[in-house]
Subunit: 403 residues, 3 copies
């Protein structure tokens, strides 16, 4: 991850100009599989260009004023700071909208609130990942509301919506993950034929969202890699997303398959991503129980799930398992925080010695997220982002004042 | 609400120069009736100019650094975002002061805190509307404290105080409402003789502040309109404000009267503003009970009030009633959120079909608030705002970077 | 505190150039006694220069974008706003990291979180003063984590850590206090031989941190003053800090001693600083009880302490005592808020008439804190701050736009 030269930045801007990104302008970023290959590539290019500019102490402020609104319906530190960093990088001030209590707010209220807070908003970032069928629906409602407000002349600008994790996809995570993979392997052209093991792993908590594994199989299958999803029986992800993964793999010349053992998935893998999640069926049941206020049954569901999870404590990323990977040196990935055996819990997703060995790559993986979010914003707000980025490069304004 | 041309902006700046606004500099905005006609007009002009600049993608940043402090002693989303938007538009960063717990803080503490947080504050926005005799008093204490701090050399600048709703007036609301009315009817010169019905309406909640109806009758009577206040027996507003309304009406060539039926108020009205509020006498009693910690009696008061409210469920803005207005097409106004029958409550202030028909005007009404707040700030912080606004227009710096 | 002329600012920049501050670049500010005399002097110079620039309406924005992260493990209004003001003054946007619940977070988590939030952070300000042996340790862990992240290429910049109060020192307070003393007495050269009484005073609360008295004796002894610490038996501060104070006094040609009566301390004093704190031994016991979850014993400890405190209600700053000071006119200092007898409590640290007479100096004392924090940030982030400050002076960009 050496600092990019200005010439390299210029090359990337030239590359960006060749991509068809016309559909992204004044649009939203919901799920990676709704974006074309050019659109995905554009997010990576813009992210790298913004990073390059910052590395060269060049201001990337494209907004002189404007708000970035964040809505976190779930506690968040990392994504909150990633979004705040992205907004700040571009010149937007973050204002948090506390919508926790309006989980079941009806459409009319959502529509009204979305407009009321957006008079000077250029972006709305939403994380709403806890309930199947809810998060994405809420985001769509917000996006439609501000589109309508813009069309009616209520809003002077069209805020773009960035999906900071919904019940289906976690595009800022999977895109940051992929960008780190591209850098780790020295270019997107080196990914063909690489084996990726996205596998379930044991955690003492229950009900972790499905959006990370779904995001990974939905995106990584686009690069000609051999993607394997592994989980114990019953921990299935949404079938629609498996279909997306299979179709992607077919189109990109890679493969997608599902296996039922961690060992099989790790065998010869170039990348492993062991992480806990809740079965789709459980998530659906939970959503229904919450919606109907049946909280006693919710407790019972949790108890049942934890008992079931406990049967699969051997689904953990050990040194032994790591040895099965390609040359014993697969890249270990995680969205963080991980449940580390003997550190953050008694028994968890990964052995401490494995986790520790990958600390720097893990932190670098996370470091791409602010740039990916900023890229999504830029591509939605500027008709010709290449022109804007070139203008920033030429202006060469200091980010930190230089003597 | 077509985008203003630069020539139109220039005309408005010329208009602003003709107004006597000398008293506004380094002052505060508490209640509209303490401001002269020129001062009220200046807020509208500056708000329109700022909006025009933003529509033309021209930066309105007049502060390079500085804080805008917000104090919300009551939950708030809309006003919070309006204040944040106004500050951001001018270049100030919002910092929230959480003063909820110090409701009964004695003067010394208020004075000290006001200075301690204001070393780099250019504006303090306060919403404190729940207790009669408290909100405005608190704001005055804060304003006097920072004036004293400035006079003594403790503060390098004099923060201006913006009343974001007190127990008496809600000037940012009534001013935004009036600015939207001026635009709706195509100019302030078209308001003479228009009939305005500010009427009480049923809501399943109790204890909504009086500051909205008081703000409306205290301001709308200044424009030669025929303002009618309608409410059931016992739901009186503060008598002092009715006196203000009557005096305003006499001076402006309009009229002010109070009636006891919604039908009478709606008859031939050009504008209707049906909204719930608590009787002044109840608000006073509540303030006393809270102050004396008599919380059991508070419960009893609430129960009694809700029972009384329930007698007036027919005070609701129906399609039938709307037909009585001028050509059946009066402008329906509300400060939002409204209690909509069958949508946000079983029985409320307005029928859903009426509310829905006015969605766009309602949202536009709200859209003026950030600009009104920003105008109040500018008029208090700049000796010659017209000169500053012209400088911004001529500088023509992009708000969003253009290619 | 007259407004500085540009010539005076230029003189101070010249003075700054003569100081050896090479060690401060890319470093942190933990405890004043770890800084050399030149480094302490540099903080004062930069603070005065920044204040001078702001007084002259000259922009001090040295960051075009970037975050300032605040962590308050204890409620705070004043320090929160001081930090926010300092960041805003330099162009950084504040993001609060809510770490209250992770008091006993283990090192690994702290390290990870520190990196995860710092991708675009230029400064991290931490207040963690409640538990002996914890606050400073936590700060060190954070500082080491981001240093490591920077070394490993995870972070593109090295955030500097500013100690906003730990269990040992409160450097932003003591430095702001000292800068106000320097201004009050007309220059650092006038401090030699002045007598300072840092004395314990009664308060109805228990467990106030030791970092203020320790910060004062650890810093004020460096200026050739005669520093006296007074407290009832058993209210000792940390012995290491008394050693620091004694060594400082010896080196600076002043003196340090401890006495057991307020009268003796006040006798002939030029400065008095009467303030409550908890005995070191109690703080240690409390930390242990909290750590072991022995909350019943914690209650007992509090009761015992309050009973013991109550024996010393006569340790209060009265008009009578003030008469014993130099010409009866010693400067009364406090970090605020003070426990004022008959105002904020029945019996407290100071009589209301004394406190009221010193209101303006007390507020001015506090007004230096934002500038001291900003100075600490600048000295850590810029290799040649004098050059940068001169550039700002010459650029002469308006903070508030001028006509």
């Amino acid at each position: 991850m050496a600092k990019k030269t200005k010439a390299e930045i210029r090359d990337r801007i030239a590359g960006l100009r060749k991509l068809d990104i016309s559909r992204m302008y004044l649009n939203d970023f919901f799920h990676t599989w709704k974006e074309s290959d050019d659109e995905i590539a554009a997010v990576f290019e813009v992210a790298e260009i913004l990073r390059g500019l910052r590395e060269n102490n060049i201001s990337t402020k494209v907004f002189d004023s404007g708000l970035g609104i964040s809505v976190f319906r779930d506690n968040s530190t990392r994504t909150r700071f990633s979004f705040a960093s992205a907004c700040n990088l571009l010149g937007l001030e973050v204002q948090d909208l506390d919508e926790k209590t309006s989980q079941i707010a009806h459409g009319e209220t959502v529509r009204e609130t979305a407009n009321m807070v957006s008079f000077m908003a250029d972006v709305i970032g939403i994380r709403d990942d806890m309930y199947i069928g809810k998060g994405y629906t809420y985001m769509k409602t917000v996006a439609e509301a501000v589109q309508d407000g813009f069309d009616q002349g209520v809003l002077e600008q069209r805020p773009t919506l960035v999906n900071l994790q919904c019940d289906i996809d976690h595009p800022t995570q999977s895109m940051a993950d992929m960008l780190s993979v591209i850098n780790y392997f020295g270019g997107v052209e080196n990914l063909k034929g690489k084996k990726v093991a996205m596998t379930w792993a044991y955690s003492p908590s229950y009900g972790k969202p499905l959006s990370v594994p779904q995001g990974i199989i939905g995106l990584f299958t686009r690069f000609g890699m051999d993607v394997v999803l592994a989980h114990p029986e019953g921990y299935n992800v949404m079938p629609e997303i498996e279909e997306v993964a299979a179709a992607n793999a077919a189109a990109s010349g890679g493969s997608y398959k599902r296996v039922t053992s961690m060992e099989e998935a790790f065998e010869g893998a170039d990348i492993v991503y062991p992480k806990s999640w809740a079965p789709f069926a459980v998530m659906e049941e939970r959503t229904q129980l919450v919606g109907e206020g049946r909280f006693d049954e919710l407790k019972a569901l949790e108890k049942r799930c934890l008992e079931n999870n406990a049967k699969f404590k051997d689904w953990t990323c050990t040194e032994e398992l790591m040895k099965k990977t390609k040359d014993g040196k697969a890249l270990y990935m995680h969205c963080l925080p991980a449940d580390i055996t003997g550190v953050s819990c008694k028994e968890g997703e990964v052995e401490a010695s494995v986790f520790d060995r990958y600390l720097v790559p893990l932190y670098k993986e996370a470091s791409y997220k602010p740039y990916v979010i900023a890229a999504m914003i830029m591509l939605a707000k500027f008709k010709d982002p290449a022109e804007i980025l070139e203008k920033l490069l030429n202006a060469d304004k200091d980010r930190i004042l230089e003597a």
